[in-house]
Symmetry: C2
Subunit: 376 residues, 2 copies
């Protein structure tokens, strides 16, 4: 780590700023890697959560098979540390297709898609560029977001891919983002998922198209993917940091929340509340699953103090359930509802152990365009 | 405008990306400037909405008295175009105070605050640095966010400021962000605001402390500030772009919405909806005032098509109220609920007229820290 003169202790930092507890991060990385190793699942973490090549490199060191990305920028940054990248978001539109196919040719590129309309222009451009691209067909297993609804549709796309070299059909992908019940109440959603997946695999098998890869994902459901026959790969993202929503779902404990936002109390003028300098532009306005009035985060060591309202640069701590009376200047750590949004809202992360700032890194893969042609 | 080789037409752009309709922007800038000129109100626009020195420069060219900022980064960027800056957010904590006082000494700096706890360390540091700082005392007029609750509290802070050179007391500031009813139903909130403000001004006047400046703000309420006796200055931000929430409040029409997010349909696999590539990381998850299930934005030329659900990089268009059946590859412009969040989520804006991209500029003042000491 080279710095010119960074702050060395947390109390020297300007707020608001995201902190990453490096011990918790390491524990989270180890835990998922071990789960996948024990169950023979390939781990292809989604980088959307951290957008950082240094954390991706650590995931790969611990055994990840490759990485999952959602944007061209994420692909481009991660190509620097990984030769096997999945774009889990169909590149549609000439500009995006061109950019994706311009990825370092030494990287193996896989794309997940759910339509012939997305497939055909990609195939044409890949052919023109002589760029091999592997394809997962995205299937819906109950989330109702993207993914073909029937095995026949999946089969039709898979067959079409096989007729379009340099594209190659690798398998199917699904996203169980709807399995958002508490872990202990996921059985019904998993039963539906199993049935849908079996139907897809049966038809593909009958057609002689047994997939190499069946790729699932999402942190809360990842821990149960070994119970779903046929799944070969998982794509969790949030597990590196975890967050208040992940705790609520039972997929981690508070002690596993590695990401907090350091904030300073700036006003206590209105009774019953304290105002911090982290609002929707630092914390994000993300709901808890199923929790309408739970606020947008809570104080790490005072879980009964939620951020109950926000403006762009103000967060309102509700003090009604606590005897704690913070003063202007007090510093708190907020556990956000959703870690991935916090990372995207901020530019720089501080890696900490105890009160010491050990590392500082930019959110390298945030942003979208290559701004070299932009003018101030 | 210098570009190396930017896209020149909207259909060449990679999505998602924010577009600014330059004609609408110019109209919005003119309209607020004219309102303030007609009513003799000083205009000190809040730069949080655009975070762009080029738009700030245009606001100043049209007569703005100075600029309002919320973060040190905004102050630093705007010091390049404006010698009169208000930080409408108390700088609390040694690092932030040091950074704020390090602002270009040729700029006049004003700070709004509501406590002696925020005032004293600022005064000490300003004295040590021999840095003049003007102070507004923040008063609450009904929003219950920040601001002293009683005229006596405001007077106490104003008196203390006068005892702490190089600080200088300039006046009072309030934020009528709670005046979020439709313009036609704001009368009651404005009556309360008038009464609160009168009480403050009466006590200050009795004490011989008539404020030079009484600074109000917020786009929806700005248009009625000439009806509030004593107000000398307004600090609207959103008016440059406007958004779906501003339309809902009656403070602009759809034809005044200058900011949209260009997005591409990437999936129609699930019936009754279309999925676009703009989700919570491009549009923000901001509610409409009072509208629980109104979604997070809507299609510009199809106002009956809302973005009803989102993931980080997916937005779900609800097609139930329309006969329109978009296809994968179709491009839409989304009017976001809240323009200021969209700007903060993105890095680059495209200025357009019709289908032509005329200008490209970075969101210069987004971000917080000076990342030169960060390592990848």
């Amino acid at each position: 780590m080279l710095h010119s003169s960074p702050p060395q202790f947390i109390d020297q930092l300007e707020t608001p700023i995201p902190l990453v507890d490096l011990d918790r991060l390491a524990h989270n990385l180890d835990r998922m890697a071990a789960y996948c190793a024990v169950h023979g699942l390939a781990l292809r973490p989604h980088v959307k959560t951290h957008k950082s090549p240094r954390i991706a490199a650590e995931q790969l060191r611990l055994g990840a098979r490759g990485l999952t990305c959602a944007t061209p920028r994420e692909l481009e940054v991660m190509a620097g540390v990984c030769p096997d990248l999945l774009l889990a978001h169909p590149p549609v539109g000439a500009a995006k297709v061109r950019r994706v196919l311009g990825l370092d040719p030494s990287a193996r590129l896989t794309v997940a898609l759910d339509s012939l309309e997305a497939l055909e222009p990609l195939a044409e451009a890949a052919d023109a560029a002589s760029r091999p691209v592997d394809v997962y067909v995205e299937v819906d297993v109950g989330m109702r977001r993207v993914g073909v609804s029937t095995p026949a549709d999946a089969l039709a796309i898979a067959r079409r891919v096989r007729a379009l070299p340099p594209l190659a059909w690798r398998g199917i992908a699904f996203y169980p983002g709807h399995v958002r019940q508490h872990l202990s109440r996921q059985d019904e959603a998993l039963a539906t998922l199993r049935a849908d997946l079996s139907a897809h695999l049966a038809l593909l098998g009958d057609a002689g198209l047994v997939p190499d890869v069946v790729s699932g994902g999402s942190t809360p459901a990842a821990w149960r993917m070994h119970e779903v026959t046929g799944v070969t790969e998982v794509r969790p993202g949030t597990y590196v940091y975890n967050d208040r929503a992940t705790v609520e779902l039972g997929a981690c404990g508070w002690e596993d929340c590695a990401l907090t936002v350091l904030a300073t109390v700036i006003s206590t003028a209105v009774p019953g509340q304290a105002v911090i300098d982290a609002g929707s532009k630092a914390l994000g306005r993300e709901p808890l699953p199923g929790g309408a009035d739970a606020g947008y985060g809570c104080v790490l060591d005072r879980l009964d103090v939620p951020v109950v309202r926000m403006s762009e640069e103000h967060g309102i701590l509700d003090l009604r359930a606590t005897d704690w009376r913070p003063r202007v200047g007090d510093v708190v750590r907020i556990v956000p509802n959703h870690a991935c949004i916090v990372v995207h809202l901020n530019d720089v992360m501080q890696g900490v152990r105890g009160e010491v700032v050990e590392a500082t890194w930019p959110v390298t893969a945030r942003g979208r365009t290559m701004p070299q042609w932009a003018t101030p």
